[in-house]
């Protein structure tokens, strides 16, 4: 079996190759890890704007009179309460409260929703949500991943770059607003969302139009960015990555995501387990830490206190924006307070680290 034969390509594959993107396998897709330099790309997003192909993420369409109530059984925050033209971050937990995935749900109409799971989890999410659908439900569920492309356009100048490409009133769009509009004449679901900690947009549009819109945004100064920069930026912003920082062995209270959970809803399939996690408390917590000594923490490194291992690093990197080494990991709650000192085992070398508040980086907001 050759893995490369099975890798999927997004509608922007040829664009990436022609721009010199270094293509790597990622969650079953062939994706650009970087074009020029991860650090330069990350800086472009913080200072002006960058473009990311996120077409590998799943896109699942839900329609019907019961679409809202079907989603409400599996998502962590009330779906019927979501207004039309809004998006919301959600977590999908199993009956034990373990995290199957995190995702964004968009309400496009009274009876129409779009769900965006992580690429590696799209199948698991579909299977989980479908499990709680009965024959009496009026709902149509369709995976539309390949029909649509998805471009993330992120950075302080993203709004001004987009403004002459779309009739949408960009200035009036608040974070997590999602409007049905056109970009460059192409029908687009345009949302003020992202995964970088920067202002920006995500464009969901027909696959065949994606290369032209990508080029149009590049012409306005947006810098193509790969998965490498995306990972650094999301870590700086304290945003967790499913598969690295959380999975079915962790619950949202351990992961520090309780503000995205309402376990008290009737019919919520993870409600009982999550109420227990909330009421009984958890024994470990996700924390952010700064390296005090020299070295970079990586996924899987032990977090120690003295000679004892107390946890594990789930993400770590050099932060180009902050010019220091940062990381995430789980520690016993006794070590989760800001200022707690722990050590990271960096390939046999014990390096001092200090627990700090998340996010590591937050953008300056105008007005």
């Amino acid at each position: 079996m050759t893995v490369s034969d099975e890798l999927r390509r997004t509608p922007l594959f040829e664009t990436h190759v022609s721009l010199g993107g270094r293509m790597v396998p990622f969650a079953g897709w062939e994706m650009p890890i970087q074009y020029s330099s991860i650090l330069e790309e990350a800086r472009a997003v913080r200072s002006k704007a960058g473009l990311f192909d996120v077409s590998h993420m799943g896109r699942v369409d839900f329609r019907g009179a019961d679409a809202a109530s079907v989603l409400d059984r599996s998502l962590s925050v009330s779906v019927p309460g979501l207004r039309i033209g809004r998006a919301r971050y959600n977590i999908i937990c199993d009956e034990a409260g373990g995290i199957i995935d995190d995702c964004i749900v968009y309400r496009r109409d009274e009876q129409r929703f779009l769900l965006i799971p992580n690429s590696a989890n799209t199948g698991a999410v579909l299977e989980w949500v479908s499990r709680w659908v009965s024959s009496a439900d009026d709902v149509q569920i369709d995976e539309v991943t390949t029909d649509l492309a998805m471009i993330a356009h992120q950075g302080p100048e993203a709004a001004s770059m987009l403004s002459d490409l779309t009739p949408a009133d960009i200035a009036s769009m608040r974070p997590f607003a999602a409007v049905e509009t056109e970009v460059g004449g192409v029908p687009t679901l345009l949302a003020r969302t992202g995964y970088t900690g920067e202002d920006g947009f995500e464009l969901i549009l027909p696959s065949d139009a994606a290369p032209d819109i990508w080029r149009a945004l590049m012409d306005r100064g947006a810098v193509p960015c790969g998965l490498g920069a995306r990972d650094v930026l999301r870590l700086e912003a304290g945003l967790l990555l499913h598969g690295n920082d959380m999975d079915r062995s962790t619950n949202p209270y351990e992961a520090g995501l309780e503000r995205f959970v309402n376990p008290d809803r009737e019919g919520y399939t993870a409600g009982e387990a999550l109420r227990r996690a909330r009421d009984d408390g958890v024994s470990r917590r996700m924390v952010g830490f700064n390296m005090v000594g020299r070295g970079i923490a990586r996924h899987g490194y032990a977090i120690t206190h003295g000679s004892e291992q107390i946890g594990e690093v789930t993400s770590g990197s050099h932060s180009p924006t902050l010019d220091r080494s940062i990381g995430l990991g789980y520690v016993p709650t006794g070590f989760s307070a800001e200022g707690s000192r722990v050590q990271i085992d960096v390939r046999g070398r014990s390096v001092e680290a200090e627990v700090t508040a998340l996010p590591f980086y937050s953008r300056k907001r105008s007005a």
């Binding site: 890890i33 970087q34 330099s37 991860i38 650090l39 490498g228 650094v232 020299r294 070295g295 970079i296 990586r298 990197s317 050099h318 390939r347």
Partner: protein, 128 residues
């Protein structure tokens, strides 16, 4: 792109013999490019004895950690201290400002085991 006056190893280190017989070494442009942005370099202390093809340090990019191997045996007489605070020099000038160590060779005949620039380029092509 690989300077003809240097010698090269299969681990993508380069080595330049100075007029006093000492050798300066670093990693090649190919290695730096493959690693991506270098953010951390750990080098042996001055005075350390290096064995040929033995691990002599670590180099870490945003993406990954790699070991550094000494292409020859020798004693470290100087190291590029600028790399501690400016590891990006490895990317911007792998063959000059990004040099790593200066060593006193234990056995100059080991130089014959290294490749010329032309041989190194053929080696790179054969790896593709």
């Amino acid at each position: 792109m690989n300077p003809p006056e240097l010698r090269y190893s299969k681990e993508h280190e380069w080595l330049r013999v100075e007029s006093d017989g000492t050798a300066v070494l670093g990693i090649t442009d190919f290695a730096a490019e493959s690693l991506g942005d270098v953010v951390f370099v750990e080098l042996p202390d001055v005075g350390s004895e290096l064995g040929q093809s033995e691990k002599m340090g670590e180099i870490e990019s945003v993406k990954a950690v790699s070991d550094l191997y000494s292409p020859v045996a020798g004693r470290v007489i100087e190291r590029n201290e600028r790399l501690i605070d400016n590891p990006e020099l490895v990317n911007s000038g792998p063959f000059d400002s990004g040099w790593m160590l200066k060593v006193e060779l234990s056995d100059a005949s080991q130089l014959d085991q290294l490749m010329s620039a032309e041989e190194y380029e053929s080696f790179l092509e054969s790896q593709e």
